[in-house]
Subunit: 230 residues, 2 copies
């Protein structure tokens, strides 16, 4: 069986050992970066490369629902940061005791420090009202947009660019600030830039916020809850 | 400036030229596979590798909300296929004239042919009611799950495994079939297996369903709609 797979892989996947290593390296060494941004500019050419990687994610019905708002203006960043701070003050209150104390110590965004902020949006109306494959699960356009974000995140890691996903905003306020039309969804607000370091493990894991779940606990066979498959 | 970036990249990103090529190859040569599955089995070891790649996506508040239901039983696949066919008959009717004719010719899933089906779910209740970073945008747990799917999709491409995302189901019916608890969301239903070929471009692009949007049309600066930044 191994021999069969070996043959198939060389004939079809066309990935050398080193190429595969690059792919897995991006997957395992990608981090959500908050506190390690450097001010060094990211070139337009490299930014375009990252956006093109996002644009080559699959999308439901090939609708390509995403747009990218590139933010470099300190004024706009400041407004977004204010919006974050407002939402974050409220968010901290839901945690109790040690968790709240730990929460207050965590740096959760690099909006002002990162040279580039990027809002990735989803336009559910793109390419007409009917989208192939979106008839029963309307959210698949947003799902596609998230796949685009992950492509960008991995490509960025390969280029030594850190990315941090900031999700602590009132979406309505973010839409107002960035003049996003009513029907468009701001799916991800990302901070991008060169970094001092990529941490060896996720920051929240290192900080003791939550542990990594063993993979085996997450796998079922045939139906939810069934563990006896192989 | 190029020199600065060159230095930074070698010091921090640690990706060789060939490793980067592997990463971009996965991003650009990944396909949504429907009609090209081979019956050859995928080893448990390789499947685990793909699931572990998914498990190393970032997640909001490190909540790791995903679970994986691995489906190999022909009976379960048959039930899911019936569910697809029911939803697809309804979906075809929303398109008119040439689009409907083209739709009817497209193969949209490989449920029975693919040796492995995989349902990737999101449990919004995992790790307690309060999730760091999910206070204002509740859907961020589902967004994280989509990032996990993209990791798996790219890793699979590197291994010569095709993946097809089937989204034409009534979610309630799929949940019943797979015995998924009420509060858990079946985000993605994927078909996995070795393939005869990976098409050079997305199948819907080749079929003339929709064209690729020029990247430039999707980029704004500072605010939605602003094209004059750089």
């Amino acid at each position: 069986m191994t021999a069969i797979h070996g043959r198939k892989q060389s004939a079809l996947s066309e990935f050398s050992r080193t190429e595969k290593r690059g792919l897995y390296k991006a997957i395992y060494k990608r981090r959500d970066v908050r506190g390690h941004f450097l001010p060094d500019p990211v070139s337009d050419r490299l930014l375009r490369k990252l956006l093109d990687s996002a644009h080559h994610a699959g999308s439901v019905g090939f609708m390509q629902p995403w747009s990218f708002i590139v933010i470099r203006s300190p004024d706009v960043k400041r407004q977004v940061k204010d919006s974050f701070e407002h939402a974050n003050a409220a968010a901290a209150k839901v945690f109790e005791d040690e968790k709240r104390e730990l929460y207050s110590k965590l740096k959760l965004e690099g909006i002002l420090e990162a040279p580039i902020n990027l809002c990735v949006t989803c336009d559910p109306s793109r390419n007409g009202p009917h989208v192939l494959g979106r008839n029963t699960i309307r959210e698949t356009d947003v799902y596609s947009t998230c796949c685009a974000v992950q492509n960008l995140w991995l490509a960025a890691r390969g280029e030594g660019i850190g990315v941090g996903w900031v999700s602590i905003f009132e979406p309505a306020q973010l839409k107002r600030l960035l003049q996003i039309p009513e029907h468009v969804i701001p799916v991800a607000y990302l901070c991008l830039g060169y970094v001092r370091e990529f941490l060896p493990r996720p920051e929240l894991e290192i900080a003791g916020w939550l542990p990594r779940i063993p993979l085996e606990d997450l796998i079922f066979f045939e139906h939810w809850g069934e563990k006896n498959g192989k």
